[in-house]
């Protein structure tokens, strides 16, 4: 990729990425910006652990600590984990179902830029008077009392990036429903596609409550509404419900695609068809459904009453059943398989016990009566980091190694990959296993410092040392990426040698039209079927013909930029009104200009026909597969 880039000139490449509607390039955009935010969130985590390394530490101030923990959570969930998953979904799902493109290439690009500008807006808070400091849940009673603009950055930034996420979700749903290749029935879709499908459905239904919650918060903080102001008849519990109606499905939005990545990796490197495929699909759908019915388990101590607590406790425990089905299916896929311990497979194997540990503490927390004891302690912190790091982050790291060749056409170094894996795994368990005991010993979460000689000193130090191992692992991974791209050793269609699904049937990286001829899918693991019958590639389902492609567009970038600008106006008009119009006179004009940019670019999009273009079959015949390359 770099050699071609040098030839084309930096500006040309930049413009190409700013205007691209190609899902494979959008995947790279998601990977790079999600990776950037992952580093930012990681640095925030390191600062938190340094502060808590020794008792009574003064490394950061109490206020800054609150900002760090808020931004760590918010960044990691919204700006790192989800975009990184979107990177793999974009890169792989259209290929896995044998599609030339996603259903809405323009909206795909718009979704990315909305996420990107929302993320940038949120992080600009560090430089413009202070970051949000009410926790990633931003409970209304705390956030209404928070001075300055921190919470406003949170509300507006998440509103913008949330819109992008919703768009991305709809795009994946329609792509998977409408764009499957001939023969690719629902029950032949790879598990990563299935889990993307269910996660996208969760996005579709979970993000609107967040949108509403954020609007209510926005109106309360910026336009004088009283939704959460108890003295005016408001009710702060409304925020908690809306947030968790979104927030709990969000956890499944993150974990299900990770399950999908692991399912594909485990069957690939066990050289076996996934055990219990139908049960896996059913479990995925069931987890998605149950994920919506359990949100109040985050609110057991709010005082919902014993009936509500009991209902939500039972529903929560029920999720352990489909999850257990999945765990056993992964184990039985490996059972009797011819296992190769490549880096992705190592992550997959380590994921199973790590995630089970997080699941078990989850069932403990689901018991409403016992939850009064665990609530707001480090036990909870340990639990959700076991689920999110042990599940999602291990899945993302596995996916990075597994899909890197498909996305970039080069293979990450396996030795360095294994070093990353061991450093990360040791660091992860070192950091968080001990936190279960810190919690049970009574250490509350979200505290800035703790006193010496209360039995917390040693365990906190161990936890911090573990965090440094994880940081080291990430540095090794970055080094691996850099040297891999410098060496630039190109790989073929199926670099792992055991690819089972359609993405391994085409060059790495795929040509921009993906499939010269749409493949004919004859069963689950279509490429594997062809391989077993002695063929090297898929049988085409159609004769060579012209391919219709969408045009690049700069409009998504401008549309998102408009909202980004308008958000500043919306935020500073509060100060403008507070100062009786003396200061911040620019705020309302900026709000209007921003909205005009967005609405204007929507109008341009609507008024200007965009029929795309055709690649003629003569060009396709000249284009030999072995070149690969998306340029």
């Amino acid at each position: 990729m770099s050699t071609v880039a040098e030839k084309r000139g930096f500006l040309a490449v930049l413009w190409d990425y700013l205007t691209t509607v190609d899902h494979k390039k959008i995947a790279i955009l998601y990977l790079v910006s999600g990776g950037f935010f992952f580093l930012v969130g990681g640095i925030e985590a390191m600062l938190i652990r340094i502060q808590l390394a020794i008792p009574d530490n003064d490394f950061v101030s109490a206020g800054l600590y609150n900002e760090l923990l808020t931004m760590h959570g918010t960044t990691m969930i919204f700006l790192a984990a989800m975009p990184l998953l979107f990177a793999f979904m974009n890169a792989v799902v259209p290929l896995q179902i044998g599609a030339r493109d996603v259903a809405f290439p323009f909206l795909n690009s718009l979704g990315f830029w909305l996420f990107f500008f929302g993320g940038i807006f949120l992080n600009l808070s560090w430089f413009l008077g202070g970051a949000p400091d009410a926790g990633w849940t931003s409970y209304a009673s705390l956030s209404l009392a928070s001075p300055g603009h921190g919470i406003d950055f949170y509300v507006l930034g998440l509103q913008i990036s949330g819109a992008g996420t919703l768009i991305a979700g709809i795009n994946f749903l329609v792509t998977i429903i409408n764009m499957r290749a001939p023969g690719m029935t629902y029950m032949r879709m790879p598990l990563f596609t299935w889990s993307t499908f269910v996660a996208s459905a969760l996005i579709l239904f979970a993000f609107p409550p967040l949108t509403v919650g954020l609007f209510l918060m926005l109106f309360d903080r910026m336009f004088g509404a009283n939704f959460f102001d108890v003295t005016m008849g408001g009710n702060t519990i409304i925020w908690e419900h809306l947030f968790w109606i979104f927030g709990h499905p969000e956890v499944y939005i993150l974990i299900l695609p990770a399950f999908g990545i692991f399912s594909d990796i485990i069957s690939t490197f066990s050289k076996k068809r996934l055990f219990g495929y139908a049960a896996m699909v059913f479990a995925t759908v069931l987890i998605g459904f149950l994920g919506f019915m359990v949100w109040a388990h985050h609110m057991f101590t709010t005082g919902l009453g014993p009936t509500a607590n009991a209902i939500f406790a039972v529903a929560t425990m029920a999720i352990a059943v489909p999850t257990g089905v999945k765990i056993f299916n992964w184990l039985l896929t490996m059972w009797g398989g011819s296992i190769r311990f490549t880096t992705p497979m190592l992550y997959a194997v380590a994921f199973i016990p790590s995630f089970v540990a997080g699941g078990v503490t989850g069932v403990m927390l689901a018991s409403a009566a016992a939850d009064y004891q665990y609530h707001d302690s480090y036990f909870v912190v340990a639990h959700f980091h076991y689920v999110i790091i042990g599940g999602v982050v291990l899945g993302l790291l596995a996916g990075t190694h597994f899909y890197w060749p498909k996305m970039f056409g080069t293979m990450l170094n396996e030795t360095l990959g294994k070093i990353t894996f061991w450093l990360f795994l040791i660091g992860f368990h070192g950091t968080f296993f001990i936190q279960h005991f810190l919690g049970l010993m009574g250490m509350p979460r979200r505290i800035w410092k703790f006193l010496p000689n209360q039995g917390l000193d040693l365990f906190n130090m161990i936890s911090t040392v573990g965090a440094f191992f994880m940081a080291l692992a990430v540095i090794v991974l970055l080094y691996n990426v850099v040297i891999t791209q410098i060496k630039n050793v190109r790989v073929g269609n199926d670099p792992w040698g055991d690819g089972r699904t359609l993405e391994w049937a085409i060059p790495s990286p795929p040509p921009y039209y993906n499939f010269k001829q749409l493949p004919l899918v004859r069963g689950l693991d279509p490429l594997w079927i062809e391989k077993m019958e002695g063929r090297k590639e898929m049988t085409p389902a159609e004769p060579l013909g012209d391919i219709h492609m969408p045009n690049n567009s700069f409009i998504p970038f401008v549309m998102s930029l408009g909202l980004f600008i308008a958000a500043f106006g919306a935020m500073y008009q509060v100060d403008w009104r507070a100062s009786d119009g003396a200061d911040y006179v620019w705020s309302i004009p900026v709000l209007i200009i921003g909205m005009l940019i967005t609405i204007g670019s929507m109008a341009v999009r609507s008024l200007k026909d965009d029929h795309g273009y055709h690649i003629h079959k003569e060009e396709l015949m000249d284009d030999h597969d072995d070149k690969g390359g998306r340029e």
Binding site: L173, I238, I245, L304
Partner: protein, 109 residues
């Protein structure tokens, strides 16, 4: 560009389609009349000042019936090829129901 309805005799096909569309339009006008009628009843119930334990369920049933007419006749959900749309709309409606139920029962201070 394949046409969906290719009969051997395009003229017959065309006239058949026109007639079908007209019949459907008649059904839509009927459902509009029913919606207006139901709206009248709903307003009359409120004007007549019934007790709310009788009024609320009737009002909600009338609203539900109107929405079904709107979805199935005006938005053509009765046509073929709306299975996925219906699945997602009903999933949304289920979550909507649970959300509203929650806010009516366990948000109380």
């Amino acid at each position: 560009m394949a046409h969906e309805s290719t009969s051997a005799n395009p003229k017959v096909n065309y006239e058949y389609r026109r007639r079908k569309a007209r019949d459907e339009m008649r059904g839509q006008v009927t459902s509009f009349a029913m919606m207006i009628f139901m709206t009248f009843i709903a307003f009359i119930i409120v004007i007549a000042d019934f007790d709310k334990f009788y009024a609320f369920p009737v009002l909600l049933v009338l609203a539900g019936a109107q929405v079904v007419l709107q979805l199935y006749y005006f938005m053509h959900m009765s046509h073929k090829g709306h299975g996925t749309a219906a699945l997602f709309l009903y999933s949304g409606a289920l979550i909507a129901f649970v959300t509203i139920l929650t806010f009516l029962t366990i948000v109380w201070w």
